[in-house]
Amino acid sequence: MEAAAGGGCGSGPPLLLSEGEQQCYSELFARCVGAAGGGPGSGPPEAARTVPGTVTAAAGPVADLFRASQLPAETLHQITELCGAKRVGYFGPTQFYIALKLIAAAQSGLPVRIESIKCELPLPRFMMSKTDAEIRFGNPAELHGTKVQIPYLITEKNTFKRMDDEDKQETQSPTMSPLASPPSSPPHYQRVPLSHGYSKLRSSTEQMHPAPYEARQPLVQPEGPSSGAPGAKPPRHKASLIRSFSVEREPHDNSSNYPDEPWRITEEQREYYVNQFRSLQPDPSSFISGSVAKNFFTKSKLSIPELSYIWELSDADCDGALTLPEFCAAFHLIVARKNGYPLPEGLPPTLQPEYLQAAFPKPKRECTLFDSYSESMPANQQPRDLNRMEKLSIKDTADFPVPTQDVTSDDKQEQNKTRLALKSTADEALPKDMSEDPATSKDSNSLKARPRSRSYSSTSIEEAMKRGEDPPTPPPRPQKTHSRASSLDLNKVFQPSVPATKSGLLPPPPALPPRPCPSQISHHNVNSERSAHPKPPTQLPNYGDFRLQKQSEQVSEAEIHPQLNRAPSQVAESSPTKKDIPHSQPPSKPIRRKFRPENSATESQEPPSTVGGPVSAASGKPHAAVQKQSSKQKKAIQTAIRKNKEANAVLARLNSELQQQLKEVHQERIALENQLEQLRPVTVL
């Protein structure tokens, strides 16, 4: 391939390519197009946004190619503008060729203008990583200095589009600092960036960008090879090294579209960021104003210029406010910076707002669910996040002492509510991975029907959410399934059981159970005394009442069940107003009644003697009728017994968990007190 010595001057059409140029450009273009088509399909949809019907090169590969040309960002932007890609929105053949010409011009030190490309120009030079083409072309190119290398199309699709969209956002890795265009001599130019780029690349293997693979480009002079030869040696040497290096990178790149791991937000981090966002701004879909964000980020103790820089990167639309994805990006950058990562030149692809929104729809969904959610969600997340925070790979979350304390305090508040505490402990018990997210969303889905009126949340966010939920919820209350149970355990527990039953088996607040208990017990006692002389006939109707009541009213009974189970199931039956009591009583009474028919004579049976007494008195008439009823009731009562047992188990578990938490809290308190004591003498002195 001959050099561009014969490159036409600006006569006739604005762009006249020499043969060599033509060939190179078409190859490059084909590569870009081909890579666009064959690029990873799992990338974001905007990746290969080519206009249907035309042959266009996708923005991503083109961007990579351009960046590989080692030109500064503004130059590349100029080039894009000039070549018209911005105008038409895509890279057609003409635009592409013009752009390549401009790149060549820029690399030769000419200003980027249309006029520049009318002159003779060398072929553009690109620092790229390995491809098959390189293997094919690399060595010959080095020898002959005429072949152009085809860039290795790393799958960074959105970068170029965003370069158009966003204000000069440069996705170059920090290692590839923009080199000055005008080289003194081509070989020198190429050697310098190569060594520079390569050494830096070696040092930062995490960077996302293609391993620089210096490709020998043809030079202006026909005696390219000669001048290229001195420069060819380092590239050849480095080429082999880079080839091996990029081999390693290949599988990595194939596995992930965005091999920029430090800039990828993990789920845990995202949870944390989202929570912080919520703490600043309850509505997840609106903005955080600049001043609020400023105060918040200033707590991270980064310098103001750095914070300013981070803001500049993350506020993509430059509106002075941060949306949720912008906030996450900013937060992530801050965290990364605190951990020592250098700030990128431009917003990395994984931190772009579109990517964050597209790739993580769940947090948004969780946000909306959160609105309709209720107390347990924040409590759920907060302890979970706290736990996760400890495990975060980024260790400097504690740099935000205030926010964490807020989270902690919120957490403690939630823990005061037993039901939420159950959830949190249950969450702690659960494996801390992403399975919790689906679980949470599942819970949230099922929990939407929960009655908010029983929420115990104390944070303003939850209250705000709750209020929105309060009106529709009262009706579902009676049907409260254990969906209300924020803990999966309860769900699992109750799913096998009869579904239409007590949701109230959820751990009621600790205050509640004891309260009715004594009253009930006393009432029981009262009733038992009363029932010592009951009117036998009334027992039958009471049976009916019990049954009806049991079926219809299931709310508060569940709460009382445990107590009732614990309390000696006194007999009596009470007025229908005592729904709970009757509920327990049927279990006892029908049993007794059951026994009674069997052993009508043996009143000294197990059943409480108090019942036995009155029951025996009525043994005569109601006997037959009772038998039929008892058989029906037997089953009902058995189910009730089962439910009661389950409730018992749940509450027992809750009890143990709470006690565990109590112990933990005690330990924490002791630790804190110790610390305090340690500090005190120091300060006193």
Binding site: E74, S308, C318
Partner: protein
Amino acid sequence: MVHTSLDVVDEKISAMGKALVDQRELYLGLLYPTEDYKVYGYVTNSKVKFVMVVDSSNTALRDNEIRSMFRKLHNSYTDVMCNPFYNPGDRIHSRAFDSMVTSMMIQVC
């Protein structure tokens, strides 16, 4: 020379007291005998003044170009101002802003 041009700008502003909406103000003519350059002024609604000094040896820049440059400058400036960490009056360190400015200048020359 920038300060003297600022005085002239103030003069102009006070002069056009009524037409405050007039954003554009092309002031041409500070051609000193020794240094021939042109100074362009531009005032925003918030009284922020942009002063552009151009070397006259350039092929004369068209009016429209100057206007577009000022507009771009204004836009970039507002973007910079959006940053809550930016104190008005500080030196602008924004990369995007700098790059925009330099690109503009390169385009012109």
